[in-house]
């Protein structure tokens, strides 16, 4: 592997620029995270983050919305915008020579949005359409409810919002949300690919120089309800999820749990795939994954199966969760470690993937974690260390959600 060349700089306004030079690529990619996630909405404003994100892209600085889109497309930028609990993010991959101009376009979005009043109804209507479409996406609906039940307000909120809340929003709400949240303090810009660091740093300093302020919103936490909830739906399949606490990405024990969940669910030889799908043919999709907020995390499991086999699927899933806590085996761990390390090498072919990792490192850890350090952490995982962790942290405070024609019988630990 080529030695890693990473850089970081914190500007006076609080914006952090992190970067990785990958001079074997022709592309560059960026991720801009701003502290404008949906957790900063009030419950009555659910969807405001997404609506604001939509509106800032409808004209800014010297461009109207059509110019914004056509300039980005002519520069060859494949871009995206997203709202999560913590952040509103913009990102994109492009031929490296376009990077400077693309960043300048996004700086205008962030600093000088027009918020054209004549486009508000269109943007609002688009967000409402997205919320309605979500009603038909049963697996997605299930996982949104699972987050709500597990994390509660405001961390479990979905950025899609609700039709009722979206209908009540006004342009003023959007402008206020923008003023409050689109701030450089704690914002992170990550860039990876074919870059020239001194030039990039100077340019970013310049285009974001007038950006000031911080998002000082105090969040009010509600204790999570956990336990079991069923949502009735006229569907062929029952969608089910069980969730339980796990360390956040910043905690040292994160990788013990990540290793255990890897054994449970990474790949076709994992325990869940083998026991639920391969041996019993109970479902097409089954998985477990570690999810992390800044200071807490959870494991979310999922299976989708036809109604008459749903109880058996849940029972087998639950048995596998319990069996995991009896410990992992040496050979399954060894396979997982090889697999993760192979992916770390192949990740070097993707500027997008590296930019995402840099941004995540800075957000969770407040520093960049060298790939070598990550490889050492993976190497240091052992059957003993994982089983020791699991023995000390049995699953508790569980939550479960099912969606389909009938509720299921939950294990005692859940209800």
């Amino acid at each position: 592997m080529a030695p890693q060349k990473t850089f970081q700089h914190v500007f006076a306004n609080g914006l952090t620029l992190v970067a990785e030079e990958m001079d074997w690529l022709e592309s560059a990619a960026f991720t801009l995270l701003m502290p404008a996630g949906c957790q900063y909405e009030t419950p009555a404003q659910s969807g405001l983050g997404s609506l604001t994100c939509e509106m800032v892209q409808r004209g800014a600085g010297t461009r109207d919305s059509r110019q914004f889109v056509s300039d980005l497309e002519n520069l060859g930028a494949d871009t995206s915008a997203n709202v999560s609990g913590n952040h509103t993010s913009f990102g994109g991959a492009m031929p490296a020579e376009s990077l400077e101009q693309v960043l300048a376009i996004y700086a205008e979005c962030v600093l000088e949005p027009h918020f054209p009043a004549d486009q508000f109804d269109d943007a609002q209507s688009l967000c409402i359409q997205e919320a309605r479409s979500l009603e038909d996406d049963l697996a997605h609906r299930l996982m949104i409810e699972a987050r709500q039940r597990f994390y509660a307000e405001p961390f479990g909120r979905s950025s899609t919002g609700t039709v009722v809340a979206l209908e009540s929003l006004q342009l003023d709400d959007v402008q206020e949300f923008y003023k409050k949240c689109y701030r450089p303090q704690n914002a992170i810009l990550a860039v990876a690919g074919k870059i020239d660091w001194p030039k990039l740093r100077d340019q970013v300093g310049q285009i974001f120089a007038d950006w000031q302020g911080s998002n000082d919103t105090k969040l009010r936490e509600v204790p999570p309800p956990r336990g079991y909830r069923h949502i009735m739906a006229d569907s062929q399949q029952v969608h089910l999820t069980v969730a339980f606490p796990s360390p956040s990405y910043r905690e040292p024990d994160y990788f013990q749990m990540r290793g255990a969940i890897g054994v449970l669910s990474d790949g076709m030889s994992s325990r869940l795939f083998t026991e639920v799908r391969e041996k019993r043919g109970l479902c097409y999709t089954v998985y477990a994954s570690c999810h992390s907020l800044r200071d807490r995390g959870g494991v979310f499991t999922y299976a989708g199966t036809t109604a008459e086999r749903a109880q058996e699927t849940l029972d087998v899933l639950w048995q596998e969760i319990l069996r995991l806590y009896d410990g992992v085996e040496e050979d399954e761990l060894a396979r997982l470690k090889r697999r993760i390390k192979r992916s770390l090498i192949i990740q070097q072919e993707s500027s997008t993937s590296r930019a995402g990792s840099l941004a995540a490192d800075w957000f969770y850890l407040g520093r960049l974690r060298p790939v070598d350090e990550l490889r050492n952490i993976i190497d240091s995982l052992s059957q003993k260390s994982i089983n020791h962790y699991l023995a000390g942290h049995p699953p508790r405070d569980l939550s479960a959600v099912t969606l389909g024609p009938q509720p299921l019988e939950m294990p005692n630990a859940v209800s």
Partner: protein, 409 residues
């Protein structure tokens, strides 16, 4: 990057875009078979067989296949389309030999009876999953409506009835009719050791018996009817529209892809500005599905039921305006820039290149460098787009609507 190829005596071809600077190497067996090569008695067998290929060989159990694939690759999977079944994996260069040995071995599956019955349940679950999930298989339903009894109208997953009735021996017979080495291409890209790959594939696959695996490619007789499928529990209405377009071997395909990007890309297109940007739909896009001998222009929309009829009329107007007044130079330039930048990004991923090389070879027995593909798109002119719209008018189409509506007006 260097293009390399080799043909075994039994007809199996190996094609490779070697890039010694890549970190990874990707390999894929492309079998020229899919739903179009089935009949009613074995509907869904291509896709079911794709699952069974992972269920073991004379020398490996299903569990061993899964375990070794996980251990030897960073990514591996398979898919079945109307006309191809593809098995692929990406790994590091040092694992080429064991990975290729494994992939070659699973291409001769054991098709054990008990595995067949268990996997049948998984296939039935997959059918149930897609029946529950928007757009509720609307694309297959559109092809069926548009193409009637043409082989390309066949469903990839099959039906609950056809899968339940399917027997292991029918699958074996299908395998023996379609999985001829002369009907298979091994595509590779990235940090590939090509001389070793040839040697290995000669040893592993050289003894596979060859036979003819012909495919029927009748001329379609499309019908532009409307079919409304009521699904009262859905919140949104899902519309898919389709009409014929250039096929995989048509030299107009570059121009046709540029045309569908201008009219219906997910961002920056006419559909985007008229329908998505205005909030009239949640989603709208036009794409060209390229098949052997024919193509299908397919438009997908999702919107509120109240707006469905209006949006259908708007789409028709957008297409009619393009047919009547043409496209603009600005639109053409923007679409070309978008496509060419995407090709450059794709060049960095051996896995994407492997798909591109394998697909091009199985469809056309043709390899194009990124540079040649870029030149192909750059050469497209407005007059090419006009010619395509004249040959394949978009404003007249078959329509499938799935959602709360019982009628579209």
């Amino acid at each position: 990057m260097q293009f390399l190829s080799h043909r075994l005596a039994n007809g199996l071809e190996i094609v490779c875009e070697a890039n010694p600077h890549a970190y990874s190497a990707a390999y894929g067996f492309f079998v020229k078979t899919g739903a179009r090569d089935e009949n009613d008695n074995i509907a869904g067998v291509s896709h079911f067989l794709e699952h069974m290929v992972f269920k073991g060989t004379p020398k490996r159990s299903a569990a061993e296949v899964n375990l070794q694939l996980d251990d030897l690759s960073s990514q591996s999977n398979a898919y079945t389309s109307e006309e191809q079944t593809v098995y692929y994996a990406t790994t590091l260069p040092e694992d080429q030999a064991p990975l290729v040995e494994l992939l070659a071995d699973i291409m001769r599956p054991a098709l054990r009876e008990d595995d067949f019955e268990t996997e049948k349940q998984v296939i039935l679950e997959e059918i149930a999953k897609y029946e529950d999930q928007p757009p509720y298989n609307a694309h297959e339903k559109l092809l069926s409506l548009l193409l009637g009894s043409h082989p390309l109208a066949r469903s990839i997953l099959g039906t609950v009835e056809s899968i339940e009735a399917l027997q292991r021996d029918q699958m074996l017979a299908y395998f023996e009719r379609r999985y001829s080495p002369a009907n298979i291409v091994l595509a590779a890209a990235g940090a590939v050791d090509f001389p070793k790959l040839i040697e290995q594939v000669e040893n592993l696959c050289g003894s596979w018996p060859a036979f003819e695996a012909p495919r029927e490619t009748p001329v379609p007789t499309p019908v532009h009817h409307t079919r409304i499928i009521a699904k009262p529990q859905a919140a949104q209405e899902y519309l898919v529209l389709g009409s014929l377009g250039p096929g995989a071997n048509d030299e107009d395909r570059y121009a046709a892809r540029v045309l569908s990007m201008i009219l219906g890309d997910e961002s920056g297109s006419r559909l985007f500005w008229e329908l998505v940007d205005t909030g009239l739909v949640e989603y709208a896009a036009l794409s060209l599905q390229e098949y052997q001998g024919m193509g299908v222009f397919m438009t997908s929309l999702s919107c509120t039921p109240e707006e469905a009829a209006g949006n259908l009329a708007r789409v028709r107007e957008i297409y009619a305006a393009a047919e009547k007044d043409g496209l603009t130079e600005e639109e053409l330039t923007q679409a070309k820039n978008k496509i060419c930048a995407h090709l450059v990004l794709q060049a960095e991923r051996p896995t994407s290149r492997m798909f591109s090389v394998g697909h091009g070879w199985i469809q056309r027995r043709q390899y194009r460098t990124i540079r040649e593909a870029v030149a192909g798109y750059r050469a497209v002119e407005l007059s090419d787009l006009a010619r395509i719209l004249q040959r394949y008018p978009l404003s007249d189409f078959a329509t499938v609507a799935i959602g709360p509506l019982e009628k579209l007006e």
